[in-house]
């Protein structure tokens, strides 16, 4: 349940943003099935509360780093969905001119610095941004999103250690969706909660319901305040679930259907809607309008992307070095 700080108008905005992500991901999935998008596509359907809950509390000049499942994070930070869809479709009008693709989004104007295809790859990078932020003394923070799979990677530990030692203003947001690629977390480690690792290095850490937008906001509100005031890093572990496979094309046979059904009941968007309705702040008509508006924007983005030209061949020689 939301704390008193949440007002309905703001909540509806957040809902809009969550719907935008959901609609975007569903469209991307459809385009992939039509082979309009190629390569690897990792969707965050079901994890919208983390992205929106976290990014909604950040300033534009705060840094955000993501991973291979970061469309939602970029959108939550304010990325232009036309340029995002174009990038995923490999077109010249994409954020990176088609050079990065789904796993390597950069939307610099929003503070979304980069995503990476290497599990845990941006965690050390976020340290760097936090280090720079500390030097600049403008109270910026760096946020890095990663999954439970990154918890077993060496760089994750090295980063926790350094962030703690140097009191860097970085917020580690772990989306623990229980699966690292196709394997349940329990097959990768005896640890059930990654927040435990943060505590080992003396970093304040909490584990929350990542499908509860308000829980995420509360945790982030606190984290951002602590970080901005120079107290050092914070770790927030968000328990959530990805409703699709690891990537598009993964039939996810390793997952019990009953598990999927369980998580459907906890759908983050549905939960926000329930709260808004209980406060009589949202009618069915308004909800339908929000969904249709989101889908409308996404359709336009898809049209924009698919009608955009491919990058010219000689583009490969540009931007290799500055």
């Amino acid at each position: 349940m939301p704390t008193k700080k949440e007002n309905p108008r703001e909540l509806i905005d957040l809902l809009r943003r969550m719907w935008l992500i959901r609609a975007f991901e569903e469209k991307a999935s459809a385009l992939y099935a039509e082979r309009q998008i190629v390569g690897l596509l990792h969707l965050g359907i079901g994890q919208e509360a983390v992205a929106v809950g976290a990014c909604s509390l950040l300033r534009n000049d705060d840094y955000v780093f993501g991973g291979h499942r970061s469309h939602g994070h970029a959108i939550a930070k304010g990325a232009d969905i036309n340029k995002l869809m174009s990038e995923i479709a490999g077109r010249a009008t994409g954020y990176c001119g088609g050079k990065g693709g789904s796993m390597h989004i950069v939307a610099k104007e929003t503070g979304f610095i980069t995503a990476t295809g290497v599990v845990g790859g941006t965690i050390p990078l976020a340290l760097g941004a936090a280090f720079a932020a500390k030097e600049k003394k403008q109270r910026q923070v760096a946020v890095v999103f990663f999954g439970d799979g990154a918890g077993q990677a060496g760089p994750f530990h090295e980063s926790l250690n350094i962030a703690s030692l140097w009191r860097l203003p970085v917020i580690f947001v772990c989306e623990n969706n229980g699966y690292a690629e196709f394997t349940p977390l329990s097959a990768h480690t005896k640890i059930e909660r990654l927040a435990q690792h943060a505590k080992t290095y003396g970093i304040p850490a909490s584990t929350i319901d990542g499908n509860d937008l308000f829980a995420v906001r509360d945790a982030m509100r606190n984290a951002v305040e602590e970080c901005r005031s120079g107290k050092g890093p914070i770790f927030v572990e968000c328990l959530t679930h990805r409703m699709r496979g690891h990537y598009e094309g993964d039939p996810a046979k390793y997952r019990e259907l009953s598990q999927l059904a369980e998580w459907k009941k906890k759908d983050p968007i549905a939960r926000v809607v329930r709260v808004l309705k209980s406060k009589k702040a949202l009618t069915d008509k308004q909800l339908a309008a929000i969904e249709s508006e989101a889908r409308g924007l996404v359709e336009k983005a898809a049209e924009f992307a698919l009608s955009s030209p491919w990058p010219a061949a000689n583009e490969v020689d540009r931007q290799v070095t500055a």
């Binding site: 060496g154 530990h157 926790l160 030692l165 640890i191 690792h197 290095y201 003396g202």
Partner: protein
């Protein structure tokens, strides 16, 4: 322990005379950990060690003359001169590899443990490393694997970061690790971990013995942090020794330069052990001095051997890199 101490001290004079070059690291002040720990092992157990390996190799029974020769880059060395100080190995003693890269051996130790478990030969692996290794990502990755796969490995961390009298007593570690105590790191992976005084040879022996028994019984990995105090002379880029060790220092440190005296008085595991033996009447001062004289003679002969050992032929560089 005498062997190690006199070996290391002789190395310093050899280096200062220019007989060999390159970096090297001494085990002075840590003999109280390595010697009793390694004595708890079976002859076919595996050991991995780091750049600070002389003490471990000697404790396990490597011939001083061959180790000297290796460090001097001579053909009669343990590795025929190809490894040098950092990479000295003795497979017949269980040392398959030494790495000069901090934490390089930690993942490898999970490998030999994995192999022993698969081969059901009852061997265990001891991974000897320092407190600095815990800063490398390789360490937690290895801990996770060892814990997950219940591997028969003993992680023995020799934390020589404890500073002695005159410094903040509580902080017993280097400043580059946020986790404290260090045992929190393996414990995060549900690996049983303990912190002990690495200067107390008897305690080390008892603790390691117990840990080894548990590991051999299939209980999974164990972690032991043995704390010691760095010896005066280790802080410089190139090791120095303030005072050649002699049994008499156990009872009279007046010959030691003043700022180093406290270490010899309270933190030298070799002298601590000598005092204990004498106090418990397990050996007389004369007997102890006699043993030392013998060791000094052996070491001197080993130095002779090494210094007279030929360098390998240049063509040897092109051999032995493929099996």
């Amino acid at each position: 322990m005498f062997v190690i101490r006199h070996f290391e001290e002789n190395l310093v004079s050899l280096h200062d005379k220019g007989v060999f070059g390159g970096h090297y690291h001494l085990y002075v002040g840590q003999e109280g950990t390595g010697v009793p720990a390694i004595s708890c092992l079976r002859s076919d157990d595996y050991l991995f060690t780091t750049h600070r390996n002389h003490g471990h190799l000697l404790a396990r029974g490597a011939e001083p003359k061959k180790l000297f020769a290796e460090i001097l880059g001579r053909a009669d060395g343990l590795n025929k001169g190809k490894g040098g100080s950092f990479h000295s190995v003795a497979p017949s003693l269980g040392f398959l590899h030494s790495s000069g890269v901090v934490a390089g051996i930690i993942p490898l130790s999970t490998g030999t443990a994995y192999a022993s478990k698969a081969q059901k030969n009852g061997r265990i692996t001891v991974c000897l490393f320092g407190d600095g290794s815990l800063e490398e990502g390789a360490a937690p990755e290895a801990f996770n694997l060892a814990s997950l796969l219940k591997l028969p490995v003993l992680f023995l961390c020799e934390n020589n970061g404890k500073y002695g009298a005159g410094r903040a007593a509580a902080a017993a570690q280097s400043s580059s690790m946020a986790a404290y105590p260090l045992t929190d790191l393996p414990k995060a992976y549900k690996i049983p971990a303990q912190q002990i005084d690495g200067m107390d040879a008897g305690l080390v022996h008892a603790t390691i013995s117990e840990a080894v028994t548990k590991i051999r019984a299939g209980e999974g990995p164990q972690f032991i942090e043995a704390q010691t105090v760095r010896y005066p002379g280790s802080e410089t880029n190139w090791p120095t020794v303030p005072q050649p060790t002699d049994t008499s220092l156990a009872w009279d440190v007046s010959s030691v330069p003043e700022k180093a005296r406290e270490w010899y008085r309270s933190c030298d595991p070799l002298l601590i052990y000598i005092r204990e033996l004498a106090e418990n009447e397990q050996a007389s001062r004369d007997e102890i001095a006699g043993i030392e004289r013998q060791v000094k003679g052996e070491i001197a002969a080993a130095v002779e051997f090494a210094v007279n050992s030929p360098y390998p032929k240049p063509e040897e560089a092109e051999k032995d890199f493929f099996a």
